[in-house]
């Protein structure tokens, strides 16, 4: 765990220095860990674990938008897990009023599904339609369909800079939509 933590910290420092590839590697490295932890957390709370991917995505979005609150002289993992824990609590609170049946114990020992397994539109995607038109179009193109910034710019006859701005604003609006009760 120690080597892993140090690697994450180094990647995040590189990311803050402008290394997008390191940033991507970091997010790809933390996603399975977050998935397993979220899965465990949901199972322990007696909630259906099929929502774990939504929560993982919500955590990643929060990590992205709040990464300036990480102190670069401190290890990254405690910061990450604090964010993850708070997002999981938020998600459980939002679902608090529904009635759920406890799932079987074996769910706790199941491995976390690999990334990309979820084909359901999910909770985050459901919020996309509430965004301003341009942000929605760009997010659907980049995040849902997986198009690059360049392809998206060509498709909507926008400059790449404008796509980047719309992407950034869209991610921020999406996060604030998720915060609403």
């Amino acid at each position: 765990m120690r080597g892993r933590d140090e690697e994450w910290t180094c990647l995040m420092r590189a990311a803050n220095a402008g290394d997008a590839a390191a940033y991507r590697r970091l997010l790809e490295a933390v996603a399975p860990v977050l998935r397993a932890a979220t899965y465990r957390g949901l199972a322990r709370a007696g909630q259906p674990v099929d929502q774990s991917e939504d929560i993982v995505q919500e955590i990643l979005l929060a990590v992205h938008l709040k990464r300036q609150t990480w102190d670069a002289t401190a290890p990254f993992a405690p910061w990450l897990f604090a964010i993850a824990r708070n997002k999981l609590i938020d998600a459980l609170r939002r679902r608090g009023r529904r009635v759920f049946v406890n799932i079987d114990d074996f769910a706790e020992t199941m491995a976390a599904p690999a990334a990309g397994d979820t084909l359901s539109p999910g909770e985050i995607a459901a919020h996309l339609d509430g965004l301003p038109a341009r942000q929605r179009d760009v997010l659907k193109s980049v995040v849902v369909e997986g198009a690059s910034i360049k392809e998206t710019a060509t498709r909507f006859a926008m400059t790449e800079g404008a796509v980047r701005v719309a992407l950034h604003r869209g991610l921020a609006s999406l996060a604030s939509k998720l915060r609403e009760p």
Partner: protein
């Protein structure tokens, strides 16, 4: 929505690192200062009779107490803006202004006086003070809340409380300045 696509989109947005809370808070409070000073001038500047500066050795202590409160609350709120810090570790700083004022009261009581103790403690302008300090604090509170919203506090209520304390400290510092007559 697939998690790996979300990660790709977040990596594409990597060069938009949000500004750190500290500088944002500093700029916000600096911008709030002229607004508070304008309120101060329009209310107390016009009515110099409302307050008579108490010229005694404890006059300067007012500034020390209010600035200690503002300083302690700023430090605590900046720590609370990070998700992995706990209030227990930094909250004791808020006791500092209370200790200073307790020492001041103790020192004051050792000196000979003609007025009764309670009237010396409360002073002559308690109502004006109670109304003015929250008013002068309001611009600082607005700036502090807007800045701290960029944080990722695990304890939003406590973060809001420290924002209120830092605004009160700054507002009271302004109030402690004798009216220009």
């Amino acid at each position: 929505m697939q998690t790996d696509r979300l990660i790709a989109a977040l990596a594409a947005d990597a060069d938009t690192t949000p500004r750190r809370i500290g500088p944002v808070l500093a700029l916000g409070l600096l911008a709030a200062l002229p607004v508070s000073v304008a309120l101060f001038m329009s209310i107390l500047g016009m009515r110099p009779d409302v307050r008579t500066a108490m010229h005694n050795p404890f006059f300067d202590l007012k500034f020390i107490v209010t600035l200690a409160l503002a300083f302690a609350a700023i430090v605590v709120s900046l720590h609370l803006a990070r998700p992995e810090t706990s209030f227990d570790r930094w909250g004791w700083l808020l006791v500092l202004p209370v200790v200073i004022i307790a020492l001041g009261i103790a020192a004051e009581m050792t000196m000979p006086h003609q007025r009764p103790w309670l009237s010396r403690l409360i002073g002559n302008n308690a109502m004006a003070c109670m109304a003015s300090i929250p008013l002068f604090a309001l611009p600082f509170l607005t700036a502090a809340l807007l800045a701290l919203r960029r944080g990722a506090s695990a304890h939003p209520t406590l973060a809001g409380m420290t924002a209120g304390l830092l605004a009160a400290g700054l507002g009271a510092t302004l109030y402690a300045i004798p009216p220009c007559s």
